[in-house]
Symmetry: D2
Amino acid sequence: MAKKQLKIALIGYQFMGKAHSNAYRQVAKFFDLPVEPVMKTLCGRNEERVRAAAEHLGWQGYATDYRQVLDDPEIDIVDIATPGSSHCEIAVAAAKAGKHVFCEKPIGNTLDEARRMLEAVKAAGVKHAVFHNYRKAPAVALIKRMIDEGRLGTIYHWRAVYLQDWIIDPNFPLVWRLDKEVAGSGSHGDLGAHLIDLARFLVGEIEEVSGLMHTFIKKRPRSAGADGKLGAAGAVEGELADVTVDDASLFLARFRNGALGTFEATRFAQGRKNHNKFEINGSKGSVVWCMERMNELEFYDATDPEGLQGFRTIQATENSHPYMEGYWPVGHIIGYEHTFINLVADALRAIAEDRNPSPDFVDGYENQRVLDAVERSHDSKSWVAL
Amino acid sequence: MAKKQLKIALIGYQFMGKAHSNAYRQVAKFFDLPVEPVMKTLCGRNEERVRAAAEHLGWQGYATDYRQVLDDPEIDIVDIATPGSSHCEIAVAAAKAGKHVFCEKPIGNTLDEARRMLEAVKAAGVKHAVFHNYRKAPAVALIKRMIDEGRLGTIYHWRAVYLQDWIIDPNFPLVWRLDKEVAGSGSHGDLGAHLIDLARFLVGEIEEVSGLMHTFIKKRPRSAGADGKLGAAGAVEGELADVTVDDASLFLARFRNGALGTFEATRFAQGRKNHNKFEINGSKGSVVWCMERMNELEFYDATDPEGLQGFRTIQATENSHPYMEGYWPVGHIIGYEHTFINLVADALRAIAEDRNPSPDFVDGYENQRVLDAVERSHDSKSWVAL
Amino acid sequence: MAKKQLKIALIGYQFMGKAHSNAYRQVAKFFDLPVEPVMKTLCGRNEERVRAAAEHLGWQGYATDYRQVLDDPEIDIVDIATPGSSHCEIAVAAAKAGKHVFCEKPIGNTLDEARRMLEAVKAAGVKHAVFHNYRKAPAVALIKRMIDEGRLGTIYHWRAVYLQDWIIDPNFPLVWRLDKEVAGSGSHGDLGAHLIDLARFLVGEIEEVSGLMHTFIKKRPRSAGADGKLGAAGAVEGELADVTVDDASLFLARFRNGALGTFEATRFAQGRKNHNKFEINGSKGSVVWCMERMNELEFYDATDPEGLQGFRTIQATENSHPYMEGYWPVGHIIGYEHTFINLVADALRAIAEDRNPSPDFVDGYENQRVLDAVERSHDSKSWVAL
Amino acid sequence: MAKKQLKIALIGYQFMGKAHSNAYRQVAKFFDLPVEPVMKTLCGRNEERVRAAAEHLGWQGYATDYRQVLDDPEIDIVDIATPGSSHCEIAVAAAKAGKHVFCEKPIGNTLDEARRMLEAVKAAGVKHAVFHNYRKAPAVALIKRMIDEGRLGTIYHWRAVYLQDWIIDPNFPLVWRLDKEVAGSGSHGDLGAHLIDLARFLVGEIEEVSGLMHTFIKKRPRSAGADGKLGAAGAVEGELADVTVDDASLFLARFRNGALGTFEATRFAQGRKNHNKFEINGSKGSVVWCMERMNELEFYDATDPEGLQGFRTIQATENSHPYMEGYWPVGHIIGYEHTFINLVADALRAIAEDRNPSPDFVDGYENQRVLDAVERSHDSKSWVAL
């Protein structure tokens, strides 16, 4: 008997669009799902490009305006993978059109946008998911399981960094990710939001923060964006213009459960490519994870025999580990793209079972509350309670 | 304009069949190929299973006898992903039928089979490829590039291990990989063949070897294979029967270029899951690679300033690294399955350009010559020249 | 010709006393010094214990009151290795007595004490040194050299943790290090002071801080200290009493040169034994060092050829590396105690050459200014400028 | 009450002489010994140098002929730290003189010498020890304890390398270690002997071997040795002369208990400084140790809960770990020199208790039997039984 189909429209076909497309294409090959995902429509503004992308990425058709897919009664899910500035408008409209809404993170460029998006999906009664994909790395999911089993005991410390190095050169141009109007913020929302999500997933809600945001290189040469525009009327390519987002964002946090946290997101850490790393210290043990070696985690078990204790490297590639049953034998590692496949598997299964996916817009909204509090802490040079 | 199509038939749908299928399905999404691969026929003996597998893995149709696909004039490529005992028969027949032949490693269960396979493809003038996939890990391909650029200088040492731990339990049953008639050998051909290929690829041809092969657990309980058979007439499930292959295979080697090598393949190394690791020491530098962290390599450059020398960990995930242009941004790692995608990309491109893929049956044959020499060295307890 | 002698009196013979004694005993065996250190007097309050310690640790004699050594005209250097509460009194008296003063860190328990100590040595015109020994690890000194050579370029980030795990058990007793009157503070002054010194040594002066200090376990059982006392009149062994120091201390910092810093000191990080670790990111490169592997450092050189960049592990054990000429061949590592030997070698050589050692009481005082600012930031929940 | 004294004469004051001297000087500071070691006489042929060395290294006196110390009735122990060519003569004479004999490894330059040395100490009834110091690294001693406790189960594999890189430059001169008459062999006896000792200590006796020895650079420029001689009558400094020892030595082994082993010693591994590393795989677990991080070991415990297994890094610096009680707190690492201190502590305690130290000349002799068998295997190109 044929499975029920879920027909998807994806908005955006750059980096995230490619990752989402791959996830929809591959998910049923590695997971035994109760539904069949159908890659119906890819949506983008430039017809020539979106047509080529749709064909290349495996979509049945394409559209040049997101309203077209909202009008298509066959579409079940609208997945938003555009820059942050358009998330809110599309998500609210999609919810009103009765579509389930999936969205890249951070869900909005401001806390207000995030709130409106959450209200919209709630009002419409549609399902919603946010692409905090790193939760779905098997090693991270294993850590979650270990925490839930009590293997870390009471958590005392969270310590997280997300380090990259791609804009250290002062001649690196003013791409959209460095434009506050499009991106909302810099490292803060791009990288820091991932750390916040992992912290909320693994440790719990944050109570108060003290943070700082900083821009090391304050002017950069203009360059045309993906839309061929320079970001300002009358702008000249190559002229120096203001960087309007942070290069680095750091904050201290107290969690509601009493744990202390440090968070640091920067694009100015030479040699760190995608160094999304955290350590958790609890009364009974500690764990460490880093995206660059995403198939591994380190675990210190304080209940091991005395004298034989140490951080052990667990390869989270056993069939018994989260998400790994459908992939390869132990030690045959998976990669970045599989975090998206795993997320999509979870989300599609949730929808098939009439549950909401996790993480969802509530997570997106709570995440944005932390981002917002850090910005206010930076402005006030003091602690801010959430 | 539509690209020329290459229509593929795959024989076998277990572990390797799944990995090959994924490669054909994904290759055109990450590589801009001059041809379009078409997944036409999946072939297996059990109709019910092969039909389900074909649908699940993305094949247009299926067949229950490999001769059917040889008779299909549309098929361009026959890819053999069955246990070693059937490679020779299928490959020779496919070559005679004028098909290009791709084959899992080791190409034959004996040197004689490998020779007949090589002669068959040469006689037929068809293209041939062997799935020594680890060559295609970006980090390994980068090492090859570095060696070709002279960055290691004269090579003195090759040191390789392939360590696994899945049959240490004496109650682990007598699966087909432990049956010489089906598998040809144990760790030797399964794991050691990979090390030999990497050594030949990176260092050069081997001149002489001194080796030993050993079976630690000499009897194991019988179990039904994938074909539902117990491997011997009148056999009873669970009764102890002889393990007919090696658990471990070790050898010393001298390369033609004067380098010295050590090779060790075993399934008895607790904690080592897929620990395919090598180190090369040259006059100007050294490199280390391990499959379990396949996106990385370590490089010691003796030409670095004195006092600042050290092994550096290169993340082979830059766009400029081999095979990485079509994947993800730097630091967003890929996994095991991508070695197959890369291999298939190379092989399809070669066929489109009327070149032979690399590695090919010559590599498969030369590999088997080393495997064979080690076996003879074991028997004679002395060095054996190739 | 006999070398000039420098006669030393050491106050204290516990952990630090043992480390200092070893340094004086060994320094002339590994370094060619212009002076001969003479281990004249060990000083402690318990005569039986100090006599035994003096004999065991290699001192010529002992004293039971530090005033005795101040009265001894032969003594050139008074080295203070007692708990922080007695540093100020002894140091001021020693300076007044015309002795050179060496002191463990942090030099005082309060900023006021540190100021008085600095004023005393300046007024007396004596030499002064503080035992921030980690500066003297060869790998750290090499990093300093690399920074001075410009190999890191402009420094953007300092990221440091000092993690231990020895008091996580709530039944761990109220030892002197957990008593504010004796120790001054907890992790803050014990561990954090080391991080501050390393930051000042390698990055520069700190401009402002935002910090928090926290005590996870607020009451612990009383236990008798080294002096046999329970810390309060009428106290009963085993009864719960207040922990008066911090278990963890964290702060964000801005350096005068524009770099951003994070600092975290805790005794609640399971599995971290003496995990004194920092990372520095500059425009041209990054470095990482950890005390637990103190002979190594990691260095990322952004000027390496593109595609071949990576963090390299430098073993700072070459003869050409700082302090290593007199030890062992490369790769034959040294240990914790050698940081003290190196510090003493530097300090004795400075005194022989009529220079002040480095680090000195100015460093001790500046360090305490940062410790003090963090405490005030904690109290005010806002940034504090230095 | 004063402890009984053991008076020591040390022959040789180069690298090993310095390491032994340090051990005798420090041993009573870190260990509570039943005897008091007295550093009475340092012996060397060049009076000026040995006098300076004796003073610098802390010896009471010196001698220029080893016979002088044999004639000194006060000397209890003669410790031989000269190049291998003089070991046998001195050791035999010392034994005949009734002295306890300590000796650097390998004890002789030939199997015949080793046998004569062993016979001499047995005939004389004196105590004997050999400086296989790496046994005495706390992490190695901990591994021994773990094996004895059964934590590894049945041992299947031993895998060891000792890699250095100091003679790769073809212009590196013909020092005494490259002269067979003085050194006996090259990497084989210098490095390989250490691996053999560790294997015998941890795994057991070796039954048969198949090996090869190789000299990559066959001629090097002559240089004057420590004795100012060029190694041959009429030799000219800088002229090319034959290297008479191996640059690399590799062998496979079968142990009596059924384990398989690989051994590789080389001075041609770029980037490897003192890379003395082994891995042991048993039915219940695996361990890894490397001298360059000598305070750590990796341990895989197959009895850990499924899904939570992994190699853990144990810092062998707890007070409860072998030899560590007298040193520093956990995580405050020790270095190379402490292996000698630990060895001397064990040896002196053994003599005080009228036991023979371990390892002793029996170990030295058994070690040499393996070295000899590998040489014969190399010559015969076949396996050689011991």
